[in-house]
Amino acid sequence: MVPTHYYLILSAILFGLGVIAFIFKRNIITIFMSIELMLNAVNLAFVAFSQALNKLDGQVFVLFVIVVAAAEATVGLGIIIMIVRNRQTLNVERVDLLKL
């Protein structure tokens, strides 16, 4: 039996990597993947706690997160396709029309 805090540390590491990639990457697909990474890090923590506390709530939450993530993926990928079509680029640095 692997102790719970191992999972939590792994989850924290994954989440931290996600945040770092989210901030520093320029490729919009990579940013998108880093968001997925953060979501899954959280899922891991949920499942770990669910196992440790012997409650099902965490697992139910995970299912919800997966559903939301799937929905988000469809919308997000749609947006990305539109950006690529309009600007022929995946670099977020060049998507700055909101600038005042």
Binding site: F22, I23, V92, L100
Partner: protein, 658 residues
């Protein structure tokens, strides 16, 4: 009884005419505008005649005849309705307003024929008729006040009719503002009456007031204060001291306006209000005394100014102020019917004087200065004849209208308990001055050698539409006073008898003994009055016809007095220095440049500038760079986590765990 149930038709007709002309008249030819304006007032006059005919058949217990059409304001115990009433006093006012008003409308079609804004003029004039009829028909003080303000508005619009001329626009504003001072008092008076009696409807209000004891002389009781406040309003509207200053300036308006509004009807509204509230005034002898003093003082004050004015309309304006003073003098000595009688005869002869002067101005091509007239009697005969009639009437020659009404006032003043002889003396002196300045006007305008440029100005008689109203008014100026004539043969004064149902109720004093002494006094006082009028005529005749250079010599020898009169006692200058200038100074340097600019504007602008500055600083966070937004999201999340978990990281807690 059809029309008595539909009293609202009488004021509604001119309102309709005003609306039609005002909305559609701009494209119409003058003929259609004439038909609408004259037609609506003419129908209103006919409706008034029919109403009066039906009124005479009413049983005495149905008078005053009150019609409640709808409730206008209701708040707690307070109710103000659109209620019209008709009684003997209303009948007199109704006929004067619609009759004289109609004649002046007809006259205006000739006088204004070549003026711009023809439809506008008649729209305003009809609007005035509407409000004036509301004023005289109203059955409560609130509705009366609606008419009161409405005639003020129409007066403002018509004084400023030639609004491109600055003096006209200023005169309109002056009239409006000075009236506002009086209206302030009037409203306070209304509030006090409502607080005391709980109603502002005439019938219940007077019924409640009548049995109450009168305030003693020199005591400021409720009655006295309420009456003085109402009289303050009357002073503004009827141009009495010290609020008379707007009326002479109001002559900037077209002449028919001066005749209708500033001579015959609107300015008498103050007298009407005092007469309407006579039950309150008879309960307040102090207020009555003030009314008499103010009236008497105004009469003589304005008459002296009228002596030296050279603008034909200004002479008439001061004459109007003076005659209004007479009416208040009558009301002040409790001779309300005499006051209303003079109001009526004055409406005839003063409207005639103004209209005739308009005809003179028309003939002279716009000239108003009497020093550039003269010798017109042969050129414009009808105007001369009618104006002379009116002059004889106002000067008080028997058997013209002015003689009877003025005599009635002087007689009542003479019999007054409080300083009656002094009031009488001043009244008589005013009569002398009136006769003098009116004949001065006639002699300067119509007699002597022409003083205008005969090559440039060709005086011509006015069109029929102007002359016919003049003739009708001349007839009325002659016969208008005959209702009071039988009193000289020991008979009753029919005019006073007619108004008796209104003024008898609640009157204090013994009418019987007063009447017998009145008969004894009537003839000698009348003879004195006629001699006075003749004296005024003789003085004017001698000064302006026999000795043409004499007036200038006199003016030179009494330079100080002459200048004082010519500059109207410098009242306008005094008001400017004491009230207008300080007010302007406070408004400009304190209210505008300090409070408004430095405080209010600065606060508002400061807030706006601050918001702008903050926005300018913050907008740089919106870089448009997606990754910088990502950093903000992370920082935000960290801050939230820090706030949530802060209690668990406090050093003390950590220390305790260790």
């Amino acid at each position: 009884m059809p029309i008595l149930n539909y009293l609202w038709i009488i004021p509604a007709l001119p309102l309709l005419g005003s609306a039609i002309n005002g909305l559609f008249g701009s494209k119409w030819p003058n003929k259609i505008i004439n038909a609408v304006a004259v037609g609506s007032t003419g129908l209103s006059f006919l409706a008034a005649l029919e109403a009066v005919r039906e009124f005479t058949h009413l049983a005495p217990e149905n008078i005053p005849w009150v019609q409640q059409y709808f409730t206008w304001i209701i708040a707690g115990d307070f109710r103000a309705g659109f209620d019209l009433q008709i009684d003997h006093l209303t009948v007199v006012m109704l006929l004067v307003v619609t009759g004289v008003g109609w004649l002046i409308h007809i006259y205006s079609t000739g006088y204004m024929a070549h003026e711009g804004g023809y439809y506008r003029f008649f729209s305003y004039l009809n609007l005035f008729m509407f409000f004036m009829l509301i004023l005289v028909l109203a059955a409560n003080y609130v509705l009366l006040f609606v008419g009161w303000e409405g005639v003020g508005l129409s007066s403002y619009l018509l004084i400023g009719f030639y609004f491109l001329r600055k003096s006209a626009a200023d005169a309109g504003k002056k009239a409006f503002i000075v009236n506002r001072i009086g209206d302030f008092g009037f409203m306070l008076g209304m509030f006090l009456l409502f607080k005391t009696f709980g109603t502002l409807d005439f019938v219940p209000l007077f019924a409640k007031a009548a049995p109450l004891p009168a305030d003693p002389m020199g005591h400021l009781g409720t009655f006295t204060v309420a009456c003085l406040l109402l009289f303050m309003g009357a002073c503004g509207k009827s141009a009495q001291l010290p609020l008379y200053v707007w009326l002479p300036d109001a002559m900037e308006g077209p002449t028919p306006v001066s005749a209708l509004i500033h001579a015959a009807t609107m300015v008498t509204a103050g007298v009407y209000v005092v007469a309407r509230s006579h039950i309150l005034f008879t309960h307040a002898p102090t207020a009555m005394f003030v009314v008499a003093i103010v009236g008497c003082a105004t009469a003589i004050f304005a008459a002296t100014i009228g002596l030296v004015q050279t603008d034909i309309k200004r002479v008439l304006a001061y004459s109007t102020v003076s005659q209004l003073g007479y009416m208040f003098l009558a009301c002040g000595v409790a001779a309300f019917s005499a006051g209303i009688f003079h109001l009526m005869t004055h409406a005839f002869f003063k409207a005639l004087l103004f209209l005739a002067s308009g005809s003179v101005i028309h003939a002279m091509g716009g000239e108003q200065d009497m020093q550039r007239m003269g010798g017109l009697s042969k050129k414009i005969r009808w105007t001369y004849a009618t104006m002379l009639t009116a002059t004889l009437a106002i000067a008080g020659f028997p058997p013209l209208a002015g003689f009877f009404s003025k005599d009635s006032i002087l007689l009542n003043a003479y019999q007054s308990e409080h300083g009656g002889r002094i009031l009488y003396a001043f009244g008589l002196l005013t009569a002398l001055l009136t006769s003098f300045y009116m004949f001065r006007l006639i002699f300067l305008t119509f007699h002597g050698k022409p003083r205008y440029d005969e090559h440039k100005v060709h005086p011509h008689e006015s069109p029929k539409s102007m002359l016919v109203p003049l003739m009708i008014l001349a007839m009325l100026s002659i016969i208008g006073g005959w209702m009071a004539a039988p009193a000289f043969w020991g008979g009753p004064d029919y005019f006073a008898k007619f108004l008796e149902p209104v003024f008898a109720q609640g009157s204090i004093g013994n009418a019987e003994t007063a009447e017998t002494t009145a008969h004894a006094l009537e003839t000698p006082l009348a003879i004195v009055a006629v001699i006075t009028a003749l004296l005024g005529f003789a003085m004017a005749f001698w000064l302006y016809l026999r000795q043409p250079g004499k007036p200038e010599q006199l003016a030179k020898s009494m330079r100080g007095l002459y200048d004082l009169l010519l500059h109207k006692y410098y009242v306008d200058e005094i008001y400017a220095a004491l009230i207008v200038k300080p007010l302007l100074w406070v408004s400009r340097s304190v209210l505008w440049q300090t409070v408004d600019v430095r405080a209010i504007d600065a606060t508002v602008n400061g807030i706006a500038d601050g918001a702008l500055d903050i926005g300018d600083g913050v907008r740089h966070t919106q870089s448009g760079n997606t990754r910088s937004y990502a950093v903000w999201v992370v920082i935000g999340a960290l801050v939230i986590i820090a706030i949530i978990f802060w209690p668990y990281f406090r050093p003390t807690t950590v220390g305790a765990v260790r």
